[in-house]
Symmetry: C2
Subunit: 190 residues, 2 copies
DNA sequence: GTCCAACGATCTGAAACGGACCATACGGGT
DNA sequence: ACCCGTATGGTCCGTTTCAGATCGTTGGAC
């Protein structure tokens, strides 16, 4: 019936409205930027156009609200909620995507100065450490132990990922310190 | 002088040609799909158009090669190499992006059946385990210990990330098993 | 008042994207 | 010889994404 191809953006919009109740585009933009937007950037323009599309599909309903202002508040329709829940219940098989420029640089490191990798590693270590600290503060502020509640759980995954990255870059840094002037090339053909 | 905004795609192209030597678009496509493309998808169409752009900027040079076939082989120019090395030497401050649909579903989990999260977690565990296995086999096949060599190092980061994800979903699964019918809502106000 | 900053929203042009499509080759099978 | 299937190699095209500029609105501070 519906199903004109819903994108991740669609579900973020539906989901956010589901969590927060009726919202304007701006509300969505802010709510997203302060949570999942930290890992997966949804450009703001999309958060204005997408709700309109969803409305035209009958998954959202809009009310022009109060004193004739142009801001519109969107709510989930029954069908919207059904769609959302169906998505939540459906299996997920796609591989995640990483998109990390640092990783790219690392991949091509042998084309630059030997020093570049080293600097890169240290940069990354510092940055990940800093973010871990920020997250941990957030976690505290939001109230103690991690549950399955939104925000909390995403924070937890975020932390896990940051720690992984940190571990990786740290061990790379150590390797570099040890071998320092070492080959940095292919392992010897056995 | 040059600098008409180079994207990650640009650098992947430059870098790959740097690593492999003169290449056709198809070569690039394959080389990328079997390495970094595993985490960061570069659509093939871009790998045909981007080298042309780079050529027109003077960062690549093209030779129409042999018997009048239509395939073109691109090589780095001096300026291309300089650009690439400058990029490798420059600091990197952008936050990586994650783009994981499973994470999205998790974030919105409370809108679905309590069972959904659980199923999701188990799915993810299975999938990550499987990928870890694949990577480890690759690592062996490519020759032993991880170095700073391309492929190797990317694999290593990939593994680290997969392990992190696995740890996360596993611990979530345990929590769910323990609390099973538990609230799945906010942590209790202390 | 009027100036500035933050808020809220829209528009636009350029990339990114993915999938359909075209072509050419190669290897069997019958 | 012919047909079929599959891998190689490349192009095109119609949507989405995306980022940034722009525009209006609001609400203090002075």
């Amino acid at each position: 019936m519906s199903a004109e191809r819903l994108s991740p953006t669609s579900y973020v919009v539906l989901g956010m409205i589901g969590l927060r109740g009726p919202s304007t585009s701006y509300d969505l933009k802010r709510a997203i930027n302060r949570s999942i937007g930290y890992f997966w950037v949804f450009p703001h323009a999309g958060l204005y156009s997408e709700p309109q599309r969803l409305e035209s599909m009958g998954l959202l309903s809009a009310s022009s609200e109060e004193d004739g202002r142009r801001r519109r508040t969107y709510s989930l329709t029954e069908e919207g909620l059904r769609e959302l829940r169906a998505w939540l219940a459906a299996p997920t098989n796609e591989h995640f995507q990483l998109r990390d420029v640092a990783e790219l640089k690392l991949f091509f490191n042998e084309l630059g100065e030997p020093d570049d990798v080293h600097r890169l590693a240290r940069e990354q270590i510092a940055q990940h450490q800093q973010r871990i600290q920020v997250y941990e503060e957030m976690q505290q502020r939001f109230g103690g132990v991690a549950g399955v509640a939104p925000r909390m759980v995403t924070l937890r995954l975020g932390l896990e990922m940051e720690h992984a990255a940190l571990r990786f870059w740290s061990s790379l840094d150590e390797d570099l310190n040890r071998g320092d002037e070492a080959p940095a090339a292919e392992p010897p053909p056995s």
